[in-house]
Symmetry: C2
Subunit: 137 residues, 2 copies
């Protein structure tokens, strides 16, 4: 699994985004970092979707190569890395929020907290600022 | 390639969206329908990204199974289908617009018309209404 941003399919801006995060797993790692307060390989691995270790390792590598996440050694455990979103990664917030809104409207099983959905609909800029400041669901 | 919405990975709303359109091709077909005025299998096949015939046939089948697109026989050529977005498909517009905005900020090669980008940033609801009414890029 190569990092797909290396082969550019077209100059279309939708394609640019899909070439970097358009697969079934990359945005789930971004979600874990952005909305669920997860920071480590072990935490990503525990997410409900059950990502395989090799897929996770590849996606972390590609997201880092694409400048969407960065990693630093955990000061409390030098053998562990802590991952975080870059500015470019945080700029994906509106895309994720629109996905959540779409699912809220089209998935009868979506259990999205009503106040969170209200903020997506009516107070998006403040919600984005809160997410950047570390608010988690 | 099965239609992925059949196997649900979790109840997360981000996952719901990714299970339906989270791959490198589905949203390009949606883009073709939504922003480029394309309607037929042959037109999708001609897009710059060079989708393979078997991938296109699968994605059209899955998007239809997911209620995102629908097809009808072309009244002018009964052997051909005309595809269109459903309401659920049109509701993906904000996700695509946010992808375009993200790429505009992070892709130095993005050639996005300035007035289109201005509308995404400052007059989004009107832009979404125009897209629904058939405006193409």
């Amino acid at each position: 699994m190569p990092c797909d941003e290396k082969k550019r399919r077209s100059l279309c801006p939708v394609t640019f985004a899909l070439d970097q995060v358009g697969d079934k797993w990359s945005l789930l790692v971004v979600r874990d970092l952005m909305l669920l307060g997860k920071k480590t390989y072990g935490e990503f691995l525990e997410s409900a979707e059950g990502i395989a270790t090799n897929v996770l390792a590849n996606r972390l590598k590609c997201l880092e190569a694409g400048g969407i996440i960065e990693k630093a050694r955990d000061p409390e455990n030098k053998r562990r890395y802590l991952y975080s979103l870059t500015e470019k990664g945080f700029d994906l917030t509106p895309i994720l929020l629109e996905m959540i809104r779409w699912s809220a409207h089209h998935d009868s099983d979506a259990g999205i907290p009503k106040d969170f959905l209200d903020m997506i609909e009516n107070d998006r800029e403040r919600l984005i600022a809160k997410v950047r400041a570390g608010m988690t669901l």
